[in-house]
């Protein structure tokens, strides 16, 4: 009786003209990761955000998206690298960024203008300005992380961004080894996103003072295997097919800046 391997080879050879390597699993991309700066998120993502890829952080307001992105920027700037924050609605609070540990001198903040603020009458909306800015920064290279903050835009507007744009960003991020983090109300980058995190508020903490918030984070999608996960897997032995996994989730808390006596 032929062995399973011999059978697999025979089937693959027969189908070779139509489906090359039909029964062999595709080689998985192993991505370098950059620590997110929050232990729970690092453990959820097996090391952190993927380098040279698009990561999406989605969720409603008060779901910890901004806090998570700031923690990531703080981690990157503390390594001596530079980050950029493309702010579609000019919503970044520099005081909060400093409280989270972001070294502001290593943060390039691009504040998009509204139509009313534009004096020279250029025809780009805030979102278009932001997309152009991301394009320019990805082409320039050298930024360890670029945060595209679309947290306050209407989801319908974000969904209108062509997939070709996200695909271009993915390619550029990969070439410049930049972590492109997209903050938004929903996942916009579709298949171009390497990971999608869905954030949600869990509960507020505090009796007389708002001391902090607990947030839920769910890993909705992860395309490639992170370097750490790959090492763990190889330690367990080569698996031909990864076991079906349910979406991973985690909970983390963020105290208020003054609640723990931290200073900016």
């Amino acid at each position: 009786m032929p062995s399973a391997n011999a059978l697999r080879l025979q089937i693959e050879r027969t189908l070779e003209s139509r489906f090359p390597a039909a029964l062999s699993p595709m080689p998985q991309t192993v991505r370098e990761t950059a620590a997110a700066g929050i232990a729970e998120i690092d453990s959820l993502l097996s090391g952190g955000f993927p380098v040279g890829a698009i990561s999406e952080i989605t969720g409603p307001a008060t779901s910890g998206r901004t806090c998570l992105a700031l923690a990531f920027c703080a981690e990157r700037t503390s390594e001596g690298k530079v980050c950029a924050w493309i702010d579609v609605n000019d919503a970044l609070d520099p005081e909060s960024a400093a409280a989270n540990g972001v070294q502001l001198r290593r943060l390039l903040w691009v504040r998009c203008k509204s139509k009313a603020e534009r004096a020279n009458g250029k025809p780009w909306s805030r979102l278009e300005q932001a997309l152009r800015a991301v394009d320019l920064l990805l082409q320039a290279g050298g930024f360890a992380a670029i945060v595209l903050d679309m947290g306050d835009i209407v989801v319908e507007h974000g969904s209108r961004i062509p997939l070709a744009t996200w695909y271009r960003f993915r390619q550029a991020a990969e070439q410049s080894r930049c972590c492109l983090v997209v903050l938004g109300g929903a996942a916009y980058a579709q298949s171009s996103a390497e990971i999608v995190l869905e954030c949600a508020p869990r509960e507020a903490r505090g009796q007389t003072v708002l001391q902090g918030y607990a947030f839920d984070v769910q890993l909705k999608r992860q395309r490639a295997v992170s370097a750490n996960a790959s090492i763990n897997r190889s330690a367990m032995g080569a698996m031909r097919k990864p076991a079906a996994s349910t979406p991973a989730a985690s909970t983390w808390t963020a105290p208020n800046a003054w609640a723990t006596g931290a200073t900016a």
Binding site: S63, E79, A91, D93, L107, G141, A262
Partner: protein, 495 residues
């Protein structure tokens, strides 16, 4: 043996050369320069092609315009000053001792090159190198080398190319030159012509005593010059290193592309000159003289001093796109400040950072896209008022402060400007608010946190802050009651 050795750089038709230096495309065409005020303009300088077409010095504009294919340019004294500086600077690369002479239509630099043999080789080689260097900055000049100052000057003015006069052979080298080369006063020139003296050789052959008896000490001086024996008290000038280029357009330029075409050559020239001193361009001040007498100023300040023409030109292009001139451009001046070229120590383990020159271009593009004041790094102000920060230019290598405690804190998302809301209170505590579209009931309100300050100045504030949690959606807002104006505003959302 004499220890003197002089090299003379002689640039003929200097008004024309100064204009064509930045417009090399015109060099092959017949071009002449008009000087004077209309309608009394006359030809003062021309190139060989124009001379072959019949153009002569002193022709009026009307006469010159009758010649087909002749390109007429107006003389620009500012251009000539800038060109003279370039010429002097080029000469200074060969010797620090330079004496400058010049006439109406020519410019001469005399260099004391004694002792430079070890640096540049024998005199003939020095002369060729000088000529090549001048060609590199857009000048055509003849070069003569001699141990006698006046012999070098006369020979360079009378012959083209490179001439080297061996020591002791000055008289023989000058003997065939016409007497006009001495620029004698009219009366003495006539006297010598009556005597039948036509060349310098014939003048040098006259007996000295008899010549002095008839023409005085000037006669002796001319005779010594003609024989190449008159000594000279060298008066060197100190060439000042100033990076400045000027170009005046024949007709007002309206298109930026045409302007950039000329600007590229000017930047190239400035970069070459700076590189000659092992320097780079740290700052470029561009002045556009506009029609109507106004001027338009632009300043380019790259993050690192650079001599990369393409990069500087790109910066200029972006700056012009962001701040276009309001009228057509009549003249362009680019002045530069030199700086030490940036040195970057590369290392395998250094963090990945943007390339400074590319970053400059990117920042300029971003500023053109969203506005000058909306790109940069935020800097917190030493104040207790809300949202107190200002923007500073983003710079690489800025020192960052190390935070010991880097735990995540709940962040604010500001609404700029704050959104006015109607708030309903019970027992002086907000219980609901309406933002103009929807009503929100408040589940928990933390506060009030009262702050005030700057009561002695215009920017005073006096406000109560409330952290409120919305019942319907699990959202936390920062509501502010501006006590001085008695109004409520939604200032930020916790995220």
């Amino acid at each position: 043996m004499s220890h003197e050795l002089y090299a003379c750089l002689y640039a003929r038709e200097f008004p024309l050369q100064a204009l064509l230096r930045l417009r090399p495309e015109l060099r092959g065409n017949p071009v002449a320069v008009l000087s004077g005020h209309p309608p009394l303009e006359m030809i003062c300088s021309m190139n060989r092609a124009a001379r072959l077409r019949g153009v002569a010095l002193g022709m009026t504009r009307v006469e010159a315009e009758a010649i087909q294919g002749l390109r007429l340019l107006c003389r620009s004294i500012e251009c000539e000053i800038a060109a003279r500086e370039v010429l002097l600077e080029c000469a200074a690369n060969f010797s620090p001792r330079i004496e400058v002479t010049g006439g109406e239509t020519w410019c001469t630099c005399l260099l004391d090159i004694a002792g430079t043999e070890r640096l540049f080789g024998p005199p003939a080689e020095v002369a060729h190198r000088m000529r090549e260097a001048l060609a590199g900055v857009g000048f055509r000049a003849s070069v003569a080398v001699s141990a006698n100052f006046h012999a070098a000057l006369l020979k360079a003015g009378a012959s083209g190319g490179v001439t080297v006069i061996a020591e002791g052979q000055e008289a023989a080298a000058l003997e065939n030159l016409p007497l006009d080369a001495l620029n004698l006063p009219e009366m003495q020139a006539e006297t010598l012509a009556i005597w039948g003296i036509r060349s310098l050789g014939e003048l040098a052959a006259l007996p000295a005593v008899e010549l002095i008896a008839r023409l005085g000490q000037d006669g002796k001086r001319w005779r010594d010059i003609a024989s190449g024996t008159l000594p000279h008290q060298f008066q060197p000038v100190e060439p000042q290193f100033s990076l400045r280029e000027f170009c005046e357009f024949e007709s007002a330029v309206e298109q930026v592309d045409s302007l950039l075409f000329v600007a590229a050559r000017m930047i190239d020239s400035l970069a070459t000159r700076a590189a000659g001193h092992a320097l780079s361009l740290a700052l470029l001040s561009i002045t556009l003289r506009l029609e109507g007498g106004k001027s338009h100023q632009l300043t380019l300040r790259p993050a690192l001093p650079s001599t990369d023409r393409k990069f500087l030109l790109k910066l200029l292009q972006i700056e012009l796109a962001a701040h276009p001139p309001q009228a057509a451009i009549v003249a362009l001046t680019i002045a530069a400040e030199a700086g030490r070229a940036g040195t970057v120590q590369l290392g395998l383990f250094l963090p990945q950072l943007p390339e400074p020159s590319r970053l400059d271009v990117t920042l300029a593009r971003l500023k053109a896209l969203v506005g000058e004041d909306r790109v940069g790094s935020p800097v917190l102000e030493d104040a207790r008022s809300a949202d107190a920060f200002h923007m500073e230019a983003f710079a690489l290598g800025a020192p960052g402060h190390a935070m010991t405690d880097r735990r995540p804190r709940i962040a604010l998302r500001r609404l700029r400007p704050p959104h006015p809301v109607r708030v309903f209170c019970t027992d002086q505590k907000p219980v609901a608010f309406h933002d103009g579209h929807q009503s929100y009931s408040i589940a928990v309100a933390y506060g009030p946190w009262r702050t005030s300050g700057c009561w002695w100045a215009a920017g005073d504030w006096d406000r109560d802050e409330w952290d409120v949690l919305i019942t319907q959606e699990q959202r936390a807002h920062l509501l502010v009651n501006d006590r001085s104006q008695n109004r409520w505003q939604l200032e930020a959302v916790y995220d």
